[in-house]
């Protein structure tokens, strides 16, 4: 299929709005005579509010409302169950019970932000604190199989694991741990709410407009049609804005009570507890292989944190079921209920942390067998999905591995770890493979053509930085044979046709299919003599049974070079290359941005990021951007992504597969494996901060200990 507009590296159509400050995020919205709400959060991790004294706050200058569990309006109760967990009621200030540290306990609303911020400090809360369970290792005795998995079952078993392990000439049995992580999009969640009669308008930072609209309506016990939710620009999501939080509900409640627009924004510090996070995991991986590297057994067993108040499972071993061939296999998932904030999806949930473990274990096995890690993976390439027993839709993992090895100069890798030095630096090369499940959901789009042949596309989809606006314009322009300048894309209003929103890398596949379908129908009408003015078409596009008949994933291979300062133990990335199979690339410019962004998230998983729990109080102690380290410019040198040409006709009519989460999968393991190659020491506790490296590399003769 020749690419005309689809497939071109077109600049973002919303690019000029973003570089001039004209793009309006929810916190940028304005209203007549707004009031400002500031949330007060709990200072214990588990217990009950015994007294809340709001007198001083109420009397502070400018304060118009102080809301707590004692006077908050009635809301629907929270439910653990729900088909769409992001559409559930999210009641705020509903009870005296405290479920986690940093839970909203009051809202202070004042005429100005400064007044509300000052008065919020005057709310005095007394608690009956209870001993909470905050540590994953300690809570492990309570681990149980999750009641529900987003995809697949909690456990899977093929063949006879013990026999497979016994048959191997070489075995790995290693346990890896991954920390809590916080999404930390640059835009803190912000909501501006106002009412007109019983109609609520709310500007809100939401990845999933439809779910957010339903969640707010359900909480307030009003029909969904009474809520118009607007989320035209979202300042990053990464899973952290799949659900809506206290800012949205409390802004809506306060605005209704005050008959006045109310704006509530979470502080950066509050984001660590009021929004969700990536759960910490403990993962045991066992591998066995014959002398030639053929795997005889794979076992991947995962234990992850789950908030006691709301179950969530980190599906870290799910992609392991499809990754490598082996006759004997076991995967398990267990969750540990802790008195911590709610865990939920963060960029490539499950896969991101699962591959930190599996792909490092594969590297360990390669060294044990003295087989090139690239070659070991190629030797275990399955011919069909090893557990589902169905064919792959498309799978170019081997091509990713081979292309990457060649372009990166993999043959320069020192065979013996800890032997390549550059002054005080220990230098190493590492690689890892990547897999990410490919998803698609039903989506609808409306397209209309004006008399001057200008086309407008409408859908409640969001663009959280992925490039949705641009690729929809490309699809519409190409399908209707128009220049891209003739297309206007309108997103992020709940009144527009329903889409699954931005999450799970399903946005492009789901929504482009709907745009194309609607444009084809519009074209039919125009070809039949209607229009061009006053003609429109709406279409819904749904995935067929191809997702049952075929095992669908996107794939990749990462190659990284690191240098370790032998004096300080600091690990620096020197260069990194990813090669990816994501089907047909709709826009190589925006797709590459997402891929390298994901890769840098992987670097961060390996080297930088961790939210640290204070085991006394259950709080995330480093809850700001000074304490929670994400990469900055100085941390990131040349990072490059190559996208292999492809077309997956089982995925969707456009042939694309998801790219937004693929980049992070396996990326951190490539860095971890490069660290081993550099210093000869295996670190299995992510992230690899200097303290973990230094104590090991200071010991002599590291090259012999492998």
């Amino acid at each position: 299929m020749p690419d005309t507009i689809i497939g071109q590296p077109i600049d973002r159509i919303d690019g000029k709005a973003k570089v001039t400050g004209a793009a309006r995020y929810s916190g940028d919205r304005r209203a007549e005579h707004p009031a400002f709400g500031v949330i007060v959060t709990s200072t214990i991790g588990r217990g009950t509010i015994t007294k809340i004294d709001i007198k001083a706050a109420e009397q502070a200058p400018g304060v118009v409302l102080v809301m707590s569990h004692e006077n908050a309006p009635a809301q629907a109760p929270f439910k653990q169950e729900g088909e769409d967990r992001h559409a559930r009621p999210k009641p705020q200030l509903a009870e005296a019970r405290i479920h986690y540290h940093g839970e909203p306990v009051a809202l202070v609303v004042a005429d100005t932000f400064e007044q509300a911020t000052a008065a919020a400090r005057l709310v005095e809360v007394s608690y009956q604190a209870e001993a909470g369970l905050y540590e994953l290792r300690e809570g492990r005795r309570l681990a149980y199989p999750p009641s529900k998995m987003p995809n697949g079952k909690a456990d899977s078993k093929v063949g006879d694991l013990e026999r497979g392990l016994a048959e191997g000439a070489a075995r790995i049995d290693a346990t890896y741990t991954t920390p809590y992580q916080s999404h930390n999009p640059m835009e803190p969640p912000a909501s501006l709410a106002f009412w007109s009669g019983d109609q609520l308008t709310i500007y809100c930072s939401a990845q999933l407009v439809d779910s957010a609209q339903k969640s707010i309506a359900a909480t307030l016990n009003i029909p969904a049609d009474n809520v118009e939710l607007v989320s035209e620009f979202v300042g990053g999501g990464f899973g952290g804005k799949l659900s809506i939080y206290g800012d949205a509900i409390l802004a809506a409640l306060a605005a209704r009570q005050l008959k006045r627009p109310v704006k509530v924004t979470l502080t950066r510090q509050q984001m660590f507890s009021v929004t969700t996070h990536r759960a910490s995991t403990i993962q045991r991986v066992r591998l066995a292989a014959s002398r030639d590297g053929t795997l005889t057994a794979i076992a991947h067993e995962v234990v992850s944190q789950s908030a006691r108040m709301d179950e969530y499972v980190e599906t870290a071993a799910v992609s392991t079921r499809a990754m490598y061939a082996a006759p004997n296999r076991l995967t398990t998932h267990r969750v540990v209920p802790l008195d911590l904030p709610v865990a939920d999806s963060m960029r490539a949930p499950g896969d991101a942390v699962g591959q930190l473990a599996l792909e490092q274990a594969m590297d360990e096995l390669a060294y044990k067998l003295d087989i090139d890690p690239v070659e070991l993976r190629i030797r275990n390439e399955p011919t069909q999905d090893p557990e589902k027993g169905v064919p792959f839709s498309t799978r170019a993992l081997v091509a990713c591995l081979q292309t990457g090895a060649e372009k990166f100069g993999w043959e320069q890798r020192p065979r013996v770890p800890g032997t390549l030095k550059d002054g005080q630096w220990l230098v190493g090369l590492g690689m890892a493979a990547a897999i990410r499940v490919n998803l698609r959901r039903p989506a609808a789009a409306k397209v209309r053509m004006d008399e001057d042949r200008r086309v407008t596309v409408e859908m409640d989809m969001t663009d959280i930085g992925t490039g949705s606006y641009t690729i929809f314009a490309q699809v519409a322009a190409e399908t209707l044979d128009l220049p891209i300048e003739s297309v206007t894309v309108k997103l992020g209003h709940s009144s527009y046709p329903d889409t699954p929103g931005s999450g799970g890398s399903f946005g492009a596949a789901s929504c482009c299919s709907a745009v194309q379908q609607a444009c084809l129908e519009l074209r039919k009408k125009v070809d039949a003599g209607r229009g061009p003015g006053n003609v429109q078409a709406e279409a819904t596009s749904e995935p067929g049974d191809a997702f049952k008949k075929f095992s669908q994933h996107s794939y990749g291979a990462h190659f990284a070079e690191v240098a370790i300062d032998s004096t300080t133990g600091e690990v620096r990335l020197r260069r990194m290359l990813g090669v990816f199979d994501a089907g047909r690339i709709l826009n190589p410019k925006t797709a590459r941005s997402q891929l390298i962004g994901g890769m840098i998230w992987g670097v961060s998983s390996a080297l930088h990021e961790q939210a640290v729990v204070d085991p006394r109080y259950g709080s995330f102690v480093n809850h700001d951007l000074a304490g929670y380290h994400v990469p900055v410019h100085a941390d990131i040198p040349a990072v490059e992504a190559i996208m292999l040409a492809g077309f997956d006709d089982k995925s969707n009519p456009l042939g694309s597969k998801g790219v937004g989460e693929l980049g992070i999968c396996g990326a951190g393991a490539a860095v971890a494996n490069a660290v081993y190659n550099a210093c000869g020491v295996r670190v299995r506790d992510y992230p690899f901060t200097p303290d973990k490296i230094l104590s090991s590399i200071l010991r002599p003769n590291v090259a012999q200990r492998r």
Binding site: T20, R24, G236, I596, L625
Partner: protein, 208 residues
Amino acid sequence: MRNTSVTRRGLFGGGAALGATLQSGSALAQSPPPGAGAPPVDVSLKVNGAQHELRLDPRTTLLDALREHLALTGTKKGCDHGQCGACTVLIDGIRKNSCLNLALSCDDLEITTIEGLGREEALHPVQTAFVEHDGFQCGFCTPGQICSAVGMLAELKRGLPSAVTPELAAAAMEVAETEVRERMSGNICRCAAYPNIVAAILDAAGKA
């Protein structure tokens, strides 16, 4: 006090000073009751060439004055603690975190925000380069990155050294990739568009 530098070193210095203030308990005891506020102050802000007379709560940061009082919402609040750089503006041509500057301390200074650098139909060269190199994804940190880049390139021209500058006494600094990465490290991009941002800045510097 008003010309706080946005370099990491400057931020750490500011943090230490803040810690010292908080530890002086006796000073706190003599303060008015918390939350009482203070009488509003008249502030004259010159933003993007236009003069604005404002009556503000003295606690109002330059960031909130721009966003809430002047409707210049291109400047973003990412952390309100000088940790992310999303609120970077130019004050008398020097890049600053507007969240760390009180509005009243900016009286009579020349403030340039993203809205003052260029418009959609007449972009600043750095803005053009960001679009061409896809130097952003979500776009939230972008106004701060661009203002910071403009200020940073001026620092290089003035010969201000950084931690990675080999020749500290040079009259003007080379616009090298390592210099750009070091000097832009006060501006976090969670989408991690870093390679593209650096490419955009190097490109724009060549054209400037």
